[in-house]
Subunit: 154 residues, 2 copies
């Protein structure tokens, strides 16, 4: 019997998580912290408020993650040049280098996975996944709008 499409996707989700956990193991890093480093690599030096928005997590949570990453030498807090309430968080040189390697592994993984698909199926898979992302985004946005509406006016 053919596994459901959803089951295949959930299986891929699970395997991705394991693969990432494997990649972090031994570095002392966790998924949440690597996510923050990833955001920081793409956004550049940012205030914690901004990181909270980008990570979709509370500012309080960012305080904790930055505390941990500062202790492990991956990020640095520096005063904001024009707003004395805020701090700027930025990657240390070592972390910048590490994120470069991680980016490289990322594109390598992409090549490996793309190579696993039969060449004549690749275009269809691209179109299919793109369509799935679009549909899922709609589903989630609608559900979250509903949740927001019922929370605002219960």
């Amino acid at each position: 019997m053919e596994p459901l499409l959803v089951d295949r996707l959930l299986r891929i989700t699970d395997l991705f998580q394991r693969d990432m956990a494997r990649a972090f193991a031994g570095t002392g890093l966790t998924t949440a912290r690597v996510h923050l480093l990833w955001v920081l690599q793409h956004a550049g030096p940012s205030t914690q408020q901004n990181l909270a928005r980008l990570c979709e997590v509370t500012p309080r949570n960012i305080t904790g993650l930055v505390d941990g990453l500062e202790a492990s030498g991956h990020v640095r807090r520096s005063p904001h040049p024009s707003d004395r309430r805020a701090v700027l968080v930025e990657l240390t040189p070592e972390a910048t280098q590490m994120m470069g390697r991680m980016q490289h592994e990322h594109t390598q993984l992409d090549e490996t996975l793309r190579g696993a698909i039969a060449p004549e199926d690749r275009a269809a898979v691209d179109r299919g996944l793109s369509a799935l992302v679009t549909r899922l985004e709609t589903l989630v946005a609608d559900a979250e709008a509903d949740a927001g509406a019922s929370r605002d006016a219960p």
Copy 2:
């Protein structure tokens, strides 16, 4: 520019997690607890040791999850008929009914997502995802074997 295949898959991972979190919201359930209920629905009444193996978490963790699910009325502990050390965990009738609804939503989601893919691409997407799962399983198994080997003989 075309997003990478990996990025699409990671995006799907993220959207799935949000969709599931949305589905549980208000029920007081969490991802880990629903996962346990799901396993229990498919395995039937099980010892905690067995659940620990199936969920790939420590037995201690199962104690905590079952405690929570018992308090919320989703599972019941009963004595094992032949081994007085063990307990059997089983779904309550209410939880059995709820899992039936969840199973139904699951197949509905599958239909929705499959419907989002152009009919002529569906077969290729099935083949492609199947190939991705196989390749990822190999990658993860190899990585975990390496980790195990270096842990056993460091």
